[in-house]
């Protein structure tokens, strides 16, 4: 191997070290005992008495310290919001990609611009609107809000995928006597599962991650997992073991999914930069 090549790999490894260190530290802290975190004179670089105590405490607290376990709220809100997003976005993007629609470019751009909107601009009106509807601190409030943020992104992504779809296949199905609905479910959908899976992934993750609106719109009943992290900051000090255990629980699903879907996610992430 050439020396330059070895140097190149060294830089790459150094950069990976920077990017992976927080993961290592999160796991390291999550498996430490309370005593090791608080009383040990030196910071330990691996848990000396590895324990799952933090996970047990944190999961128990999810049930005891909240009206509904935040983890359940997060799962329900993310799933329902993703479902509504798909129900609304699949027909809309199919229509935009398939048919000639007057001012279709303008409509697409308007939908896209909704995605660029800074959330804080909507925080105050949402707070007042949802308060007026008596929906503060309910799962429905967050579902409605997250769908509003997911929908533009989903339409935009699906439309980009369907822009290069071989529509001849649909034409063939139509001449063979299928109606549009049948051809959609039997021909188009089976060929688009990959794209729909990617969109589902991104919309689910967005709702799972979200913090600002959960902070504003929930108090105790509809608290999500991201908000529940802060409940580990007690008057007696910050329970870093609990925070790290919750962080692991919060991050694991996205890590697992991204390992399975990494190719699609990368193409989804770069869609904005490469395709426009």
């Amino acid at each position: 191997m050439k020396p330059l090549r070895i140097f190149g790999y060294c830089i790459l490894i150094l950069f990976f070290f920077y990017e992976l260190f927080p993961f290592y530290w999160m796991f390291n802290t999550a498996f430490k005992t309370r005593a090791e975190l608080r009383l040990s004179p030196h910071v330990t670089f691996f848990p000396h008495n590895p324990t799952i105590e933090n996970f047990v405490v944190v999961l128990r607290r999810q049930v005891t310290a909240f009206v509904t376990p935040p983890i359940m709220n997060s799962i329900i809100i993310s799933l329902v919001s993703t479902l509504i997003t798909l129900i609304l976005s699949v027909p809309a993007s199919y229509s935009l990609a398939r048919f000639k629609i007057k001012r279709s470019d303008n409509i697409s751009f308007w939908i896209l611009s909704q995605r660029m909107m800074p959330p804080i601009a909507l925080a105050i009106p949402y707070f007042i609107m949802i308060g007026a509807l008596n929906l503060l601190d309910t799962q429905l409030a967050l579902i409605l809000v997250y769908t509003a943020f997911n929908l533009p992104f989903a339409v935009w992504m699906l439309k980009a995928y369907w822009a290069d779809f071989p529509w001849v296949l649909e034409e063939a199905a139509l001449t063979d006597g299928c109606n549009r609905l049948q051809s959609f479910f039997n021909v188009i959908l089976p060929l688009s599962w990959g794209s729909i899976a990617t969109v589902t992934f991104f919309t689910f993750i967005f709702s799972w991650y979200e913090f600002l609106f959960a902070l504003i719109l929930t108090r105790s009943r509809a608290t999500t997992i991201t908000i529940s992290l802060a409940s580990s900051i007690l008057e007696t000090g910050v329970e870093w073991g609990w925070i790290s255990a919750l962080s692991v629980i919060c991050t694991i699903p996205t890590i697992l999914l991204s390992i399975f879907l990494y190719k699609r996610i990368i193409s989804g992430l770069t869609l904005g930069a490469i395709k426009g």
């Binding site: 090549r5 790459l12 611009s113 800074p118 601009a121 105050i124 609107m129 991050t251 490469i274």
Partner: protein, 286 residues
């Protein structure tokens, strides 16, 4: 038949976005022209907007936000281009390449709130690993998050950690779109290695670079979670970004009118950037 059909398919999504996207904005525009101080809802026309110009705390948040933007985007582009050249040079295949892609994806997949807490833990003066190394080398502890300059630096490093992989992934994808024949032709003309990047890759990636910059400006304008957890804007207001101040005015001081006015300034700025972005994206297609 397709005539009515296609609008029927499009309408539900559009209706949803009108109700949840446009209506709230009209609502907050209305609020921006009113004052709620002393419990009364009074029409004050542009007074909220004039207040912004005299608000030293707001101007400070602008300074902080722009400093973070410039530093973060510059560092991210440097890392992004550097790593693109490195990956192009190493030409990895198979398992190492897959591994690289997964490692680049992992940070992006961490929830921002977790990013904030984990970095706060790493930077902690007593139980953080960085201070353990500093003290073991005989230096005194650094309380990174309570000194204005290091606090700002921490926010910048944490944000770079989070989003540099995005810059790498985007720029490298752009690089892979460049036909290889161009490099072969350049090699015949004597341009190889660094020179081929200087005269081929960078000019050809210009579009991607500009897009990444615009996307990142829009993202950084929304920066909230990381700062909220890492420093809460402190010490003092030295890391208070626009979004955080807007949140404080709206939900801590309950000054709805003024908060709406601030959010409109942020919104207008973001519309300008996204219009430039879409012009570039649409222009490329034609």
């Amino acid at each position: 038949m397709a005539r009515s059909y296609k609008y029927f398919l499009l309408m539900p999504a559009i209706a949803y976005l009108l109700v949840m996207g446009i209506f709230p904005l009209l609502f907050s525009l209305h609020a921006a022209f009113h004052s709620t101080v002393a419990g009364e809802y009074q029409f004050v026309f542009l007074r909220n907007f004039f207040r912004i110009l005299e608000d030293a705390r707001f101007l400070n948040t602008l300074r902080v936000t722009i400093t973070i933007m410039i530093a973060v985007i510059a560092i991210e582009l440097l890392i992004g281009l550097g790593m693109t050249f490195l990956l192009a040079y190493l030409k990895m295949k198979g398992i190492t390449y897959t591994l690289t892609q997964v490692v680049l994806l992992l940070p992006i997949m961490m929830p921002p709130i977790v990013v904030g807490y984990t970095w706060r833990l790493i930077l902690d003066p007593f139980i953080g690993p960085i201070n353990e190394i500093i003290t073991s080398m005989g230096f005194s502890r650094v309380t990174f998050l309570t000194i204005p300059n290091t606090a700002l630096l921490s926010v910048i490093l944490c944000t770079v950690w989070y989003w540099a992989p995005f810059a790498i992934v985007s720029l490298y994808a752009g690089f892979r779109n460049i036909p290889e024949e161009l490099y072969e032709a350049a090699a015949v003309d004597g341009a190889t290695g660094w020179r081929s990047h200087r005269y081929l890759t960078i000019p050809l990636l210009k579009q991607v670079i500009v897009t990444v910059i615009l996307l990142r400006i829009m993202d950084l304008l929304k920066l909230f979670d990381i700062v909220f957890v890492l420093t809460s804007g402190g010490p003092g207001t030295s890391t208070e970004v626009v979004t955080l101040y807007n949140y404080i005015v709206g939900f801590k001081y309950f000054d709805t009118g003024y908060a709406s006015a601030i959010s409109y300034i942020v919104l207008i700025f973001s519309i300008v950037i996204s219009t430039i972005f879409s012009r570039l994206a649409m222009g490329e297609k034609k």
